[in-house]
């Protein structure tokens, strides 16, 4: 059985040694570079503090409790089990004077060693220097007396140089009335003394300090008009600032892009309807080629271009894109009336947010044209692909709506490449995907004709340089389409299309 004080002291020694070793990684070097003053301070602190700790906590007395390792069995009421170690149990019980303890001298030595190592780790030349300078910060404020009058009067005696001797001689003989610069001078270097005078009563001195304090407050250089103006300006920005922060915290939409399409709402939506409840999960990683109805294909292409997280950064959030299914073919011409109350509220919220941001950041109001857009996708059986723009006037916003017309074959199996490219052109005005933006090699199609017949793995190398988003394959049957989906390097070409598109889109459209 071992005494509680001895055990606690041993644990403290371990902790302090580890802490000191951590604080003082290179003890020998610190010892060599410490000055004598520092070592003296370390010694004094360790002796004084160590002795105090040893006395105050009575560390030299025999332990009142002890720890014992017993074989499992019945415990006495005053025995507390602490830890079970297999067949044995560690108990804490009162000591009857039979606990083993280190000798008091050894314990005092351990305490001194601990305080010395802590003092050595925490005291350094710089710390002592800072302590020495700290007393300046506590210089007496008003507890002193004004010095005596004579203390500040400096009397400069007559100059003794040869020139002055002649002038003094002339003055003595009456040839000149004054000694000029050679005359003895009296200087008083006293400034106004605001301390207590030697003969000043205490109450008078106290009253004078109060008056000084009041007058110093009165003398504060405050331009009332400017201060009130600044306060009003700040108060005016509180509302917008709170509103802006509320919008940020609630992750309110920073844009509203409306897409009207003649396609019907998907009966069994591939992506769970629009907008999907969990955008990141839905569009985290899409298959390269779409399946399902034309509406599903549209969602898929839109997801790849705007949201898919495999290509960073995403260009928009799902809540910022609104698809209006089953819209008439002239939806963009009638967009002002087709936009429902929810869409108008969205526009109003965007305008408010833009105003708040302009107020808070003291910048001009951001234009809303890039954050609130209207597009239309018209799908017809035998249509020629084309894009037209129409003016659109909404309350507080004058912009234009763009209509893309596509043949229905583009939204059928095999039309994915064309659909992605055309949709990108609709969403981002001025975007056009061409060979200079692609990873395609101009020679690749010819090489395809010569190598594909040969077979083997190397013949597929041509796919690395063949961008199907530029030159979509014609008339692939289901098997060939499935095979193409499995071997075509989408990660190269689709990633390039999406990257190029998003770069352009974020410059044209995007968010507040």
């Amino acid at each position: 059985m071992i005494g509680g004080r001895t055990l606690a002291l041993a644990a403290a020694l371990l902790v302090v040694s580890a802490a000191s070793a951590g604080l003082l990684l290179d003890g020998r070097r610190a010892l060599e570079t410490s000055s004598g003053d520092t070592l003296l301070a370390v010694g004094l602190v360790s002796v004084v503090v160590g002795t105090l700790v040893f006395r105050l906590f009575a560390l030299g007395a025999p332990s009142a409790s002890c720890f014992t390792l017993w074989r499992r069995g019945r415990l006495w009421p005053d025995e507390t089990p602490l830890l079970t170690l297999g067949e044995h149990v560690l108990i804490l019980r009162p000591s009857a004077g039979d606990a083993w303890d280190l000798s008091p001298r050894l314990r005092q030595l351990i305490v001194l060693a601990m305080t010395a190592s802590l003092a050595f780790a925490s005291l350094s030349d710089r710390a002592l220097s800072l302590w020495g300078r700290a007393q300046n910060a506590f210089a007496p404020g008003g507890a002193g007396y004004c010095p005596a009058d004579d203390d500040h009067i400096v009397v400069t005696g007559p100059r003794q140089d040869p020139g002055c001797a002649l002038i003094r001689r002339a003055h003595a003989l009456g040839y000149t009335q004054d000694l000029g610069p050679c005359e003895a001078t009296v200087q008083d270097d006293r400034g106004p003394c605001r301390l207590r005078r030697v003969d000043e009563p205490m109450l008078h001195y106290a009253a004078r300090r109060w008056v000084d304090a009041l007058s110093s407050w009165r003398d504060l250089d405050l331009d009332a008009d400017d201060a009130i103006g600044a306060l009003r300006e700040r108060a005016a920005a509180v509302g917008p600032s709170l509103s802006e922060r509320r919008a940020v915290v609630s992750t309110a939409p920073r844009a509203a892009h409306h897409l009207f399409t003649t396609l019907p709402r998907p009966a069994s939506p591939l992506l769970g309807g629009w907008p999907p409840p969990r955008c990141a999960e839905t569009f985290g990683s899409l298959p390269p080629l779409a399946a399902g109805s034309p509406s599903d294909r549209l969602e898929h292409a839109l997801g790849q271009l705007l949201f898919e997280l495999r290509y960073l950064p995403p260009a928009a959030d799902c809540r910022e894109v609104h698809i209006h299914w089953g819209a008439p073919a002239d939806a963009c011409a009638r967009a002002a009336t087709l936009l429902d109350a929810e869409a108008r509220e969205g526009l109003k919220a965007l305008r408010q947010r833009a105003t708040d941001r302009a107020t808070v950041r003291r910048r001009p109001l951001s234009p809303l044209e890039h954050a609130f857009t209207v597009q239309c996708l018209v799908v017809e059986d035998e249509a020629t692909p084309g894009l037209v723009r129409q003016p659109l006037a909404l309350p507080g916003l004058s912009t234009s709506a763009r209509t893309l017309t596509l043949p229905s074959a583009t939204l059928a199996p095999g039309g994915e490449f064309e659909l992605t490219r055309r949709l990108a052109e609709l969403l981002s005005p001025g975007f056009r995907y061409h060979i200079l933006l692609s990873e395609a090699d101009a020679q690749a199609p010819r090489a395809a004709g010569t190598t594909s017949a040969r077979g083997g793995l190397a013949s597929l190398e041509v796919l690395e340089r063949r961008d199907l988003y530029l030159h979509p394959p014609a008339d692939l049957d289901d098997d060939a389409r499935q095979a193409l989906a499995e071997v075509y390097p989408f990660a190269r070409h689709l990633a390039n299309v999406v990257d190029v598109f998003r770069h352009h889109y974020l410059g044209q459209r995007g968010r507040l």
């Binding site: 990683s285 395809a448 793995l457 041509v462 008339d475």
Partner: protein, 184 residues
């Protein structure tokens, strides 16, 4: 005359081997590695290396592929195993920069005594890393069952192509070459 040919080429369908064709190709390639001795494989690889750095040197992959294939035809003649192994090695040659990035090549250039040897070791390490994903899928295949192994490689590389961005044929070539060169 050239314009119609080019237009025809532009709309030509890309090579799209079906799953059965891909598995057969991989199985045959694995068999070809078994049929050739390690020295023969190294000899084909060295010949293709020389050609890639010599007469087939071009910035256009579309020119390098037929050039290396013609080099292979000259070296192998009608020997089927040699041609199949060469096909895999050509694919790996063209994919060298995919497996060993520029920074790694710089490191090899600084540290390796012989650059080609260091590059080959770095490539092998990259292939080994790739194949750590294949091991669980091919665990059920017997060592001699090349068809099973080929099916596993195909499925692994289809997933890899769609999820990780490495092309199917490059993934398949790396897998076949790594397994083929490490015969018992």
């Amino acid at each position: 005359m050239i314009a119609p040919l080019l237009a025809l080429a532009l709309i030509s369908a890309p090579p799209t081997p079906t799953q059965a064709e891909r598995t057969a190709t991989l199985s045959d390639a694995l068999d070809a590695f078994d049929a050739l001795s390690a020295e023969d494989v190294d000899r084909v690889a060295a010949a293709l290396d020389d050609a890639a750095r010599g007469r087939c040197l071009s910035s256009l992959a579309s020119l390098r592929v037929p050039c290396l294939q013609s080099e292979l035809d000259e070296r192998c003649g009608e020997e089927d195993a040699c041609r199949r192994v060469g096909d895999v090695l050509i694919t790996l040659k063209l994919a060298e920069s995919t497996f060993v990035k520029t920074s790694e090549r710089h490191r090899v250039l600084r540290e390796a005594a012989v650059f080609r040897v260091g590059l080959r070791q770095a490539t092998t390490r990259a292939h080994a890393r790739l194949l750590t994903g294949l091991v669980p899928r091919a665990r059920h295949c017997a060592e001699a069952d090349r068809r099973c192994l080929a099916t596993a490689i195909d499925a692994f590389c289809v997933d890899h192509a769609q999820q990780r961005g490495l092309s199917w044929h490059r993934c398949a070539a790396a897998s076949v070459a790594f397994i083929g060169r490490r015969r018992p």
